[in-house]
């Protein structure tokens, strides 16, 4: 019943009620009728028996079987009586009609009742004793068919059923017709209500069909719809205004409830998720989340924290959008209670700061890079400054050397003529005195002239060596065998015992390409210096090594002499710097010029006071071009 429509239910109610009433009435009538008919049949039977008894008494008394036969035949005419028989008291049948069973047993005399009745199915068998002078004179047997009553009852019931069915059909038709009058408007109302609820179309109206209570109900329903429509429009208006406002915000604005369902969101959120606002609002945070599940759970946990603590939260979070693009959001989450449901919710505003972060990172990197460049620039500036300073010093010392060379050269030349003239004068005088008596008388004269000549020679030697040193010769490279050259140097510098001169060359012979005159000048200079620094029995060592890997040959001249302090080492290659009483201060500066300027090599010095000094020359091996 529950599932059935109102109309069906009403029809069924009507039909049931009608049917039940009719059935009750019919059954009552049948019941009454059956009792009445039964009584009537009994009475009729009793009266019939009375008549049969009166008729049979004389015949039985007379034992007149002929008359008895007539009587039973007359009785047998009654269509309800199927068998009739008259018996004598001894059980002998006087006459019979119809289908009388031969196995019939007569009742025992005397009997209390006037009639002995037995019912078998629809048949009633009656034994009636014929009494004369209180003595049994015979029996009358009648078998009556009472099925007619039954048939009558059946017919009755048939008629009743027909009436019942007919009336039910009539009821059904009438109730259907009647009910359609008020069920239709109700159904119409129901349809409209359904459509309104499904389509959310509050502009729908129910059609008024009648002017009765249903009509009033329709009016009330329409009125209600109108109010709802107005409210809905107001609501939509305010929602539109709200969305218009929040859609203007370029940042993501959203509201979520505790389950993570989006209650509100603006276009920025929908765009970020690559969907529409209605889809967002019908989904949950977890369903919409496109990135890592952990990320989504963290966001939900943050939401709950805000709701539980009832405190706004400002945080930076990472969010993976559709397509896996990682974004950094600066999100503010504010707790609130939803009006109406009083449920907890959060309002969130998320600002995409990915670009800012990127820019910040780039800026930081650029800054670092700039810092790096700056540092390296500073370093390079320092290096270059040091180089420039060094170069400047070198230049100054070169210029100094050149100036010295020029000056000393011109002085030397200017001195040579007068010195030469003196020398020639002495020569003349000595020859003259040699031939003259004066010379013999004064031998001291020649001795003094000889002394003058010697001193002139040594003065000329100084000039020569100064000229040698400062003279710029044309570079002429050729193969030098260091061992042989060292022998010459040893002899030139007068290195002999007890001073030890140790030569260690690898390979031996040690051959390389350089200007022999200039290189020898360098060696002489270094060996002389070492010799001067050494005690008489000191040790002077020259070591030669080929470094094929670096393409340089390395020659070391070392001694175990007095050594130099740092200040001396700093200035040792400066022109005019000397620690010797008789030094010109040009030797090492010229050595450096020869090695570094002319041969593109390198000369360095290591020294320790009272331990010794080591000069290291490095010459490039592949320099075969001649340099001026």
């Amino acid at each position: 019943m529950k599932g059935k429509g109102l109309r069906t239910r009403m029809v069924l109610y009507t039909v049931f009620t009608t049917g039940f009433a009719l059935l009750l009435a019919g059954l009552g009538l049948i019941f009454y009728d059956s009792i009445f008919l039964h009584e009537q049949a009994e009475k009729q039977m009793e009266s019939e028996s009375e008549v049969i008894l009166r008729v049979c008494e004389p015949v039985v008394a007379a034992r007149d079987s002929g008359k008895a036969r007539d009587i039973v035949e007359a009785i047998g005419l009654d269509q309800h009586i199927t068998a009739v028989a008259i018996y004598l008291p001894d059980g002998q049948m006087l006459a019979s009609d119809g289908n009388v069973s031969t196995e019939l047993t007569l009742p025992e005399w005397p009997v209390q009742e006037q009639l002995i009745r037995t019912r078998t199915g629809s048949f009633t068998e009656v034994f009636q004793p014929i009494v004369r002078d209180e003595q049994l004179d015979g029996w009358v047997y009648v078998k009556r068919d009472s099925s007619e009553i039954l048939n009558h009852r059946m017919r009755y019931m048939g008629i009743l059923s027909a009436i019942l069915v007919l009336s039910l059909l009539l009821t059904l038709a009438s109730s259907t017709w009647l009910q359609s009058g008020f069920v239709k408007p109700v159904q119409h109302l129901v349809n409209i209500a359904n459509r309104v609820s499904l389509e959310k179309d509050y502009s729908l109206r129910a059609t008024k069909m009648t002017e009765d209570e249903l009509g009033q109900l329709t009016d009330a329903f329409n009125l209600m719809l109108e109010k709802v429509q107005r409210r809905d429009m107001d609501l939509q208006d305010s929602e539109r205004r709200l969305y218009q406002a929040i859609d203007l915000v370029p940042h993501m604005m959203f509201a979520k409830d505790r389950s993570g369902r989006f209650i509100l969101c603006n276009k920025a959120v929908a765009n970020a998720y690559g969907t529409t606002i209605p889809k967002m609002l019908s989904s949950s945070h977890m369903a919409m989340h496109t990135g890592d599940e952990k990320e989504a759970i963290q966001m939900l946990e943050d939401d709950h924290q805000v709701m539980d603590a009832r405190e706004p939260l400002l945080l930076e979070e990472t969010w993976t959008g559709p397509g896996g693009a990682l974004r950094i959001l600066r999100t503010t989450k504010i707790p609130y209670t939803q009006s109406g449901t009083s449920e907890d919710a959060i309002l969130g505003i998320a600002i995409d700061i990915t670009k800012e972060k990127e820019a910040e990172r780039e800026l930081r990197e650029a800054h670092n890079e700039l810092q790096h460049v700056n540092d390296s620039l500073e370093r390079r500036v320092e290096e270059r400054t040091a180089e420039v300073v060094k170069y400047q010093q070198r230049l100054i010392s070169q210029e100094k050397l050149a100036a010295i060379g020029q000056v000393s050269g011109s002085i030397a030349h200017e001195l040579r003529n007068p010195l030469g003239a003196i020398k020639q004068s002495i020569f003349f005088l000595r020859r003259y005195l040699g031939k003259d008596e004066l010379g013999k008388q004064h031998p001291k004269l020649d001795e003094h002239l000889h002394l003058m000549d010697e001193e002139l020679s040594s003065a000329d030697h100084v000039i020569s060596s100064l000229l040698d040193m400062t003279r710029v010769r044309k570079m002429e490279r050729s193969d030098i065998e260091l061992g042989a050259m060292l022998k010459e140097v040893q002899s030139r510098c007068q290195i002999h015992a007890p001073l030890k001169f140790h030569i260690d060359l690898d390979p031996d012979p040690f051959t390389f390409l350089a200007d022999p005159v200039q290189f020898k000048q360098v060696l002489v200079n270094l060996v002389q210096n070492s010799r001067d620094a050494c005690p008489l029995d000191g040790l002077l060592q020259v070591k030669g090594r080929m470094d094929e890997g670096l393409s340089v040959c390395r020659i070391e001249v070392s001694d175990n002499g007095s050594g130099m302090n740092d200040d001396q080492l700093q200035s040792i290659f400066e022109p005019l710097y000397t620690t010797k009483a008789k030094g010109t201060g040009l030797g090492l500066s010229i050595c450096r010029q020869i090695i570094e300027e002319h041969h593109e090599g390198k000369i360095t010095v290591e020294s320790e006071v009272d331990v010794g000094t080591r000069f290291i020359i490095e010459l490039p091996l592949d320099k075969r071009s001649s340099l001026a």
Partner: protein
């Protein structure tokens, strides 16, 4: 050594000139002195010299130029050049051009005397 063997001595430094003249004269040579290249070339034109001893660096015409002019005048001229400067290239060029010797100053006088004697005797 005959007195007829004459030597032209050229030097712009007077002390050099006078001392050398004395030494050479003492050796028996007939020495004529000039103070410049120009003067030397003038004297060379007019006279007959067995040898010329000449400084290279002088004011005006240099010894080498004077030698070339003399060589133009007399192809077989015997010139000994002297220099206080060590001028390697000049020395080589001059020797190639026919200078007898290129001597550095100060002079080794014993060697000089020998050289002159040798030069004039080859004649």
């Amino acid at each position: 050594m005959s007195a007829s063997t004459s030597i032209l001595l050229v030097d712009d430094h007077s002390a050099m000139r006078s001392t050398l003249s004395d030494i050479l004269r003492d050796e028996g040579y007939n020495v004529q002195a000039a103070t410049s290249g120009e003067e030397a070339v003038g004297l060379f034109k007019d006279g007959q010299f067995d040898a010329v001893l000449m400084d290279v660096r002088m004011a005006g015409m240099s010894g080498v130029e004077a030698f070339r002019k003399m060589k133009n005048l007399c192809a077989g001229v015997k010139v000994i050049l002297m220099s206080a400067f060590s001028m390697d290239e000049l020395k080589e060029d001059s020797l190639r051009e026919g200078v007898v010797a290129f001597l550095p100053k100060p002079l080794n006088l014993d060697n000089l005397i020998d050289l002159i004697a040798e030069t004039v005797s080859v004649g």
